[in-house]
């Protein structure tokens, strides 16, 4: 397998400014063939700009962009036959019906799988005979989704595709994307719905202010972050406060009814240092232990809460 086949999207050091506003400031993104890649970031962080550069709608100011082995700016139209795109805010032609739009976009891409189209229209409960102007936001989204999913393409670029969908339809969307992964298609899914990304994505890139701040599988990202540890130990632990990688340490003596003494320890531990912490706790005699892996939400919030918090958090493994 060549590099281009193994990696349909390769972006390195991508820069893009609009006037004085810097939208992308050296962004990196690599999407592997056959994976569902989550593209996470808050509003205005540059997700849509990145996707529009990938589509050749915007010209990059700097960096390299490779899409399906080609340059999207120069070979856009040819590459577009092999992908489908769903924008975050779908605009339809007011005078065309949803069904017509699905066929129009589908045929202008690689072509349309009629059976799949019929199946998707039914599953999404879409009325294809209504005019574009009479669809609600969610239904406009469905039209674009059906058009993209029924197209005979190898790559899907989805920009917050579930923004207008109700929970039932969102669930359905997850099922359909899971099918897609089974079918070997590559999906770039931009989103800020964490549960969605957690449920669907093999790998995740988190961006902030136009820069990629984290990338990897969810397991890897979790490894890179802190685990919450709560333990009850018999003796007060010795040397825990001097270990590197331990944060927000809270040690309390426990006074119980029968007069039994014990100590409750609560802290956040950087994953690489978990072993040393456990050793220290074991020496103190563990009577109970809970550890909770970070959720994607923790990851996300850690990067976006406040710049200061972010720097403190990033400190241990960047120094």
């Amino acid at each position: 397998m060549s590099i281009a086949e193994a990696m349909p999207i390769r972006v390195a050091g991508l820069r893009k400014s609009f006037g004085h506003t810097v939208a992308l400031d050296g962004l990196d993104l690599e999407v592997r063939s056959g994976e569902v890649h989550g593209f996470l970031g808050p509003n205005g962080s540059g997700k849509s700009t990145t996707i529009r550069v990938l589509l050749g709608l915007l010209r990059a100011d700097g960096g390299t962009v490779e899409l399906l082995g080609g340059d999207p700016w120069r070979e856009g139209a040819a590459l577009h036959r092999r992908l489908a795109y769903v924008p975050g805010d779908v605009a339809l032609w007011p005078e065309l019906t949803g069904g017509e739009v699905i066929d129009l976009l589908g045929r202008l891409r690689g072509g349309l799988d009629s059976r799949r189209r019929a199946e998707l229209v039914e599953r999404f409960e879409l009325d294809p005979t209504k005019k574009g102007r009479s669809y609600s936001k969610g239904n406009r989204q469905k039209v674009a989704l059906v058009a993209a999913l029924a197209a005979d393409v190898e790559l899907l670029l989805l920009d917050e595709p579930t923004a207008g969908l109700d929970p039932l339809m969102e669930q359905l969307f997850r099922e359909v994307i899971a099918d897609e992964r089974g079918g070997g298609r590559t999906v770039l899914l931009s989103s800020h719905i964490l549960s969605e990304v957690e449920a669907l994505c093999d790998r995740v890139s988190i961006i902030r202010q136009g820069v990629t701040v984290e990338t990897g599988t969810l397991a890897e990202l979790r490894h890179l972050t802190r685990t919450t540890v709560t333990a009850e130990v018999i003796e007060p632990p010795v040397g825990l406060d001097s270990l590197i990688g331990v944060h927000d340490l809270d040690v309390q003596d426990l006074v119980q009814d029968l007069g039994t003494h014990g100590t409750r320890v609560h802290c956040h531990v950087d994953a690489p240092h978990l072993g040393e912490v456990l050793r220290c706790l074991t020496e103190a005699g563990i009577s109970s232990l809970t550890s909770r892996p970070p959720t994607l939400e923790d990851l996300f919030l850690r990067h976006y809460a406040t710049p200061a918090a972010d720097e403190r958090a990033a400190d241990p493994y960047e120094s």
Binding site: A77, H80, A91, G99, D103, R107, L108, T129, L157
Partner: protein, 530 residues
Amino acid sequence: MIRDLEGTGTLIRLALRRDRVLLPAWISVLVLAVMSTARATVDLYPTIASRLEAAKAVNDSPSLVAMFGRIYDPTSLGALAMVKWVAFGGAAAAVLAGMITVRHSRAEEEAGRLEILGATIVGRRAPLTAALVVAGITSVALGALCALGLMTTGLPTAGSVAIGSEWAGIGLAFAAIAAVSAQLARSSRNATGLTIAVLGLSYVVRAVGDSTEGLRWLTWASPFGWMHHVQAFAGNHWPVLFLLAGFALGVSAAAFALGARRDLGAGLLPDRPGPARAVRHLCSPLGLAWRLERGALLAWTCAFVLLGLVVGGVAGNVGSFLNTSSSRDMIRRLGGEKGLVDAYLAAELGVVGVVIAAYGVHAALRLRAEEISGRADEMLATGVGRMRWAGSQLFMAVAGTTALALTAGFAAGIARAVQTGRALDALDIVGGAVVQLPAIWVVVGIVAAAFGIGARFAVAGWVALVLFLLLGEFGPLFRLPRRIIDLSPFAHVPKLPGSAFAATPIVTLLGAAVVLTAAGLTAFRARDIG
């Protein structure tokens, strides 16, 4: 009832805040143009005799009467000075008032902003009331400022107030018509289109009535006719203003009644379900462009059949109307040299050419609408390249203008040939219409070039077209240098039928159109979308 109006004041302030640049700009341009025309004309006709002669020349020429209306008092300097502006100013006031009404009613509703407001303490009738009040304020301000401006040029006070009131009145009438359109149509584009269609119709009804002996009563069947019947500077028939005001009130009431019968966001003209699958020929950029344009093109084609029939049909009367040497001179100067009828036809086809160019701008501006709405993104993210996408839209503008020129030419030609019994006359007239096309395509090219720089600049096409129209109509009056007037592509169109056909200007205009379009497409290929 009062509860229904709650929040109207807030909405009015919001609308005035949003339009604080647009309204003063539009009004001051109009006031300045009207004032400078008046100043220039005062010097031009110092004696009663010179006015009599000029007024007779206008009144004896059906094409001028059709375009501008008649001069009711040939001795009045004001009536002579304002002969073109009564109609122009009226049309400008009507377009402005209609546009404002739609902009603050249907357009807001379409964008979903009314829903946000509707959930606050805004009464059900408040948005439409606010839109009408803002359009009314604008119309009255426009009329009052024009009246004041005209007084400073030395024209009689009563006449100045009368003509200002005419414009305020026609503005109010079309604000009301736009309010009804905004209830009937679901999109602001269609509501504006409907308003403009009514405007065009009432203009044509007045034109036919004024220029056709025996059909004079038609001028009383059109708001534009009423406006002319006020006869500013020529008797000032004030009671006629009540007709305009009453019409505005009645039609506004109808708009409110219609509004009460529909839901927010809905129109009274229902949306019928359409096909669930697309026909194969829709599925290309050109197929899509055709599909989006065909409705508008059909409506324009019908209008041009009518216009062509009127132009061709009236031609036969020209000779009998023209029985003074001055009017003969005037019409000859307007057009070619061969025959009076030819000169009349050439002049009218020149006007038709400008109107077709307006369609060309409208059609080419779809590029802008597609890009700004984000639909261009969706198309350009498929296998369609930028050149093919933009080229298809521009091709529709070129093909559409060609179709309209042929339609108008054949309609006028056939109407004329029926009178003369000579089929060849029809072909001459078709030639006179077709020869306008290179100039029209230059205007389309200007839209393409501006679009190449950025979607929001594409409206430069309208600015250019209005500028060319003003250069053609008022350039000679202001004694502008020839090279300024020649900036308009329409100044170079051979005056057919009548004059000799000249290939050089045609080739030059075609070249300019091609260069502008190519430059626009090249720039478009190199820029960001959106």
